[in-house]
Structure formats: C-alpha cells, structure tokens
Amino acid sequence: MYEGVVQDLIDELGRLPGVGPKSAQRIAFHLLSSDPADITRLAEVLGKVAEGVQFCETCGNVAEQEQCRICRDERREPNVICVVEESKDVLAVERTREFKGRYHVLGGALDPLSGVGPDQLRMRELLARISSDEVTEVIIATDPNTEGEATATYLVRVLRDFPGLTVTRLASGLPMGGDLEFADELTLGRALSGRRAL
C-alpha cells in the first residue's frame, strides 16, 4: 500500500478492464513522472467524457456532432449497413478498407446473464432505418462468440421478413470465441469479402 493519492490512483486504474495490479502500479508511476501538462490534458479529456459523450443519432457510433463522420460522408453507400456490437468494432472494420457502406452499432449483444435482451440494444432503431431508408443489404458483423452468434440469429429472424433485403453474415475464418476488435485486418478483410447470405 502506498500513501494517499498515489494509492487512490493505483486503485482507480486497477478498476479498468485488462489492467491488473501490476500494470496499474506501472501506469501510476509513469504518470507521476510525466509532464504536468500531459496529466492536465488527460484530466480534461476525462472531464469531457464525464460530461457525456455524444452518440450518432443515426447509427449509434460515438460522435462529435449529432451524426458521426461516417453517416455524414456522402460517398458512403447508403444501401449497405454493417451491424456491429460496439463502436470499437466500427474501427476494426474500417481498418480493413474493404467496406464502403454504413454502420449500425447495437451497443452490445444479447446476454441474458447480464440482463441484456433486444430492448436493451439499438434494435428498434435498426429496424426503423431499414424500413425508411433505401437499404438493400445488411451485413451482420457481431463477435464470433456465443452471445454474438445469438444476436446474429436474432437479427436474421427479424430481418428475413423485409422483402428484397439481403442479409449476410461475416464468413467464418474468424476464430470462434473471439472478439471482432482483436481480429487482424487481413482475417477480418477476408471474412468481410467472403460473407455468406443467410
């Protein structure tokens, strides 16, 4: 145990996902030896996060304005929507440079153990988009794990009633039990181009 604020800092850092006690300590001492200006900048960013982050009204991605950069971009194909669990998955798919359409961020996956059902996800917003826009294809890019598969199954069930809508799922090749975010660009790119219709 360290005294006072140093231990507080270590404790707070240690609550972050993927940060164990040892890493927390390392990060804390890194911060202690950093330029005060760097720390102030970090504090300011965290302060803004606490005030509330905006999410894109259309797709649910994190955004600086009412709409995210991708939804505002006229060059993106409006008729293909790639459905992902989290904003970090948008970045993962963007890195592949394979995809020219738009996104829909569900905000998670079906997970009854954590009390997450369709109502807790941005499902209704997705259906509204599909009904109103000129969407012709939905690509389901949920994580290749139990909850992601269940979410994909659910989506297929509700989307198959839309006439003329093609629903595809990322081709396997993604390691099962994994996380889209951690798939390397090549694998994810291949999975995207080899997606199969359902």
Partner: protein, 391 residues
C-alpha cells in the same frame, strides 16, 4: 505414445518435480499425501485440460503461487514434441508447443492421450449421471479435440438460456409461453441449444456405439473365471432426454451413425414441447446436459443392483475399453493407474497387470511395493516430502 520427460513447477504440492521417463512401467511409491496422485493428475491434465479430481484450476496451483507449469516431452512414433501448459487461475491459461506460443491451450489437445484408472472411478457406476457424462465427454475430446470447443460453447449457451428462462418465467410460465416477444428471444437460444447440443449428442451416441463392444469384451476378460464362461455380460446404453424422439438404433453398434441434422430437429421440437415446464422451473430440461449413460449387467441396470466387486469390474471395464478405443484410433494412450491394485482382488489384479505390462507407458502409484504386481517392474521413484528419488 509416451512421455520422455516431465517437469512440474508449482503444480499442487510440487514446487519442482523433474522426471526422466522411458517406455514401460513407471512406479511411484510413497506414503499417503506425498504427492503421487498429483503427478498423475498433471499428466492427465495434458490430455484433457482438466483434473480428474476437481473442476476448477485453482487447487492445482501450489498454495501462495500464481501459476503452475507442466512441461512434457512427448514421443509419438518417431516424433517428439515439447508441450508446456501454464495454469493461471483467474487469468487465461497459456500453452506452448516446442517453445512457440500457440493461441489457446485447446490447441494442444490431441497431442497426449491418457486413460486414468483411480479408486474414484467406482462412482462411474454408483455415482450421479454427471460423472458418466464427464467420462463420455473426456473421452470424446481425446478422440476428437474439436469437441472441447463445442462443449464449452454448449455450456455457455445453457447458462444464458437458463438465465433467460428464469427471468421470463417470473411473470408466470403460461403468460410467458403465450407472449410472442418473449418467445422470439427464447427462440434464438433454442436454436443455439439445438445446434450445439445436436453436435455433442451425435458425437456421444457414436462414441457409445463404438465403446460398447470394447466394454463387453473387457468385462468378460475381467470377470470371466479363468477358462470358464462369464455369467453376466456388461452393456452400455445412452439415455437421452429426448426419450422416444431419439431414433432407436442411434448409439448402438449395429445401428446407424447419428445424423446431426435429425438431432437438431428433434431437440428443437422437444424444446418447444416442454416450453411451459421449462419456464416454470427456470432451467433447460432437454439436451445432452440431462442425459446419462446406463451401465447394465446381465440386462439390468448396474446402479443399485451390481455388487461391490461387480461395480469395480464395470468401472475397470469402462477404462480398459477407453484404452482399447483410443489405441485403435488415436495411437496408444498413456495408462495412469492410481492406487488401484490394492483395491482389486487377485483375478482382477492379474487381468489389469496383464494389460498394463503391455502398455507403451504406464504410471503406477502405490503406498508400498507389495501393492504393485510383479510384471510391472520398471523405473521406480520413491516419493517423499516434495522429493522424487529415482532408483
């Protein structure tokens, strides 16, 4: 196959253990509680990524340490691989093959095969269905490693589905069973359960079909009086929660191989049928997690009927059958005999010794030398106070 070298670090009672090994019998002699079973447990872990004694990894790590290490040089024919497993409870375990990191520990499954026979095996015959399901699944994973993934996926789906049944059923099972919205969410988990469950079920049925003749033959060999005919014959039958919805000849040596698509349909239908009782009880009542392996002797169920001696013979027969099956299919497994000779009568002891003495490699533990049959002389270690001394 055999281990040429085994090294343990902070595994159970062993701060450090180093065993130079060879083909044939390896005998570990030592008083109770000195760490003999711990060594066999480590070898078994290489084959199943689990312990035969506990279901969590935590007790496998030496007190006050963070991780345990098992390293083995495995010889299979003219090939040698070094397999390393790092067990760190609460974090993800890691594996290396020939010092290169592999993704998941699961990827080392299939390199080492073991068949372990221990006093606890009596519960295969006398214990709960869960014991027998574990017996089947452990063997299944050795036979075909991809089922490790399917099993853990299935378990995950079950937990999710049970959580949903519980929360949905709270409002009353009848009301929920009529609510289209609740049903559309449940349907997702129904289909996950049916798809994964069918794969596991099909593989178990085929396993039982293949194991049954070996079991009958092994029992004859153990129980049959020398020269005479055995009075009763042993059988195994898979009992599915599908009941009569399961094609009758599945899981029998004469029948057809189980068809996954037919089982997906059967499970899906059965789940819909039991919707209300599932919602009422808040648990999944249909699926391979509710199944059992019925062991019979002379046509009647062994559980509750077989004598103590007969139960021992049946447990031993199941293990020897596993050994024969793996030997036919996957290369000769390493035989692990933990403290069993003292439990067996003369005839059973001789029969087991005969099989063991022909094994490519067999680990035998006993408290005293007198408990080890004469045929099984080979490398001998004495085990005492955290030390292994080779003689």
């Amino acid at each position: 196959m055999h281990l040429r070298h085994l090294q343990l670090t902070d595994f159970r009672s062993w701060e450090h253990a180093d065993l130079e090994l060879g083909q044939g019998p390896i005998v570990l002699i030592g008083r109770n509680g000195k760490g003999k079973t711990n060594v066999l447990e480590a070898v078994g872990y290489l084959a199943t990524l689990g312990s035969h004694r506990v279901s969590s990894d935590t007790p496998l790590v030496r007190h006050e340490r963070e991780r345990a290490l098992i390293r083995a040089a495995v010889v299979n024919g003219d090939r040698e691989l070094v397999v390393e497993l790092e067990i760190s409870p609460g974090k993800s375990n890691r594996a290396r093959i020939n010092r290169g990191a592999v993704g998941r520990p699961r990827d080392v499954l299939g390199i080492v095969h073991t068949v372990l026979f221990a006093p606890e095996d009596l519960s295969l015959v006398k214990g709960d269905p869960a014991e027998r399901r574990r017996f089947l699944d452990d063997l299944l994973v050795q036979r075909s490693p991809r089922y490790a993934g399917i099993r853990s996926e299935y378990d995950r789906v079950l937990r999710q589905r049970n959580a949903l049944l519980k929360s949905t059923g709270k409002r009353g099972a009848r009301a929920a069973a009529d609510d289209p919205y609740a049903l559309s969410t449940l349907a997702v988990w129904d289909s996950q359960l049916a798809e994964l469950g069918a794969q596991l079920l099909a593989a178990r049925l085929d396993l039982v079909a293949d194991l049954a003749p070996h079991t009958a033959a092994a029992y004859d060999g153990i129980a049959g009086s020398p020269g005479g005919e055995p009075d009763k014959s042993a059988g195994i039958t898979y009992r599915s929660s599908l009941g009569s919805a399961l094609p009758a000849d599945y899981g029998t040596p004469e029948g057809q191989r189980a068809d996954v698509d037919i089982l997906i349909k059967a499970l899906g239908d059965a789940v819909v049928e039991s919707r209300e009782s599932e919602l009422e009880r808040g648990v999944s009542l249909i699926g391979p997690h509710r199944d059992d392996l019925e062991i019979t002797l002379g046509g009647s169920p062994a559980k509750g009927y077989a004598s103590h001696g007969e139960s021992w013979s049946l447990a031993l027969a199941l293990r020897l059958a596993s050994y024969e099956l793996l030997r036919d299919e996957a290369g000769e497994p390493i035989l692990l005999l933990d403290d069993v000779f003292a439990e067996l009568d003369r005839h059973r002891r001789a029969r087991l010794a005969e099989v063991a003495s022909r094994a490519e490699q067999v680990f035998v533990t006993a408290a005293v030398d007198e408990d080890v049959p004469g045929e099984l002389t080979g490398v001998r270690y004495t085990v005492d106070e955290g030390r292994l001394v080779r003689e």
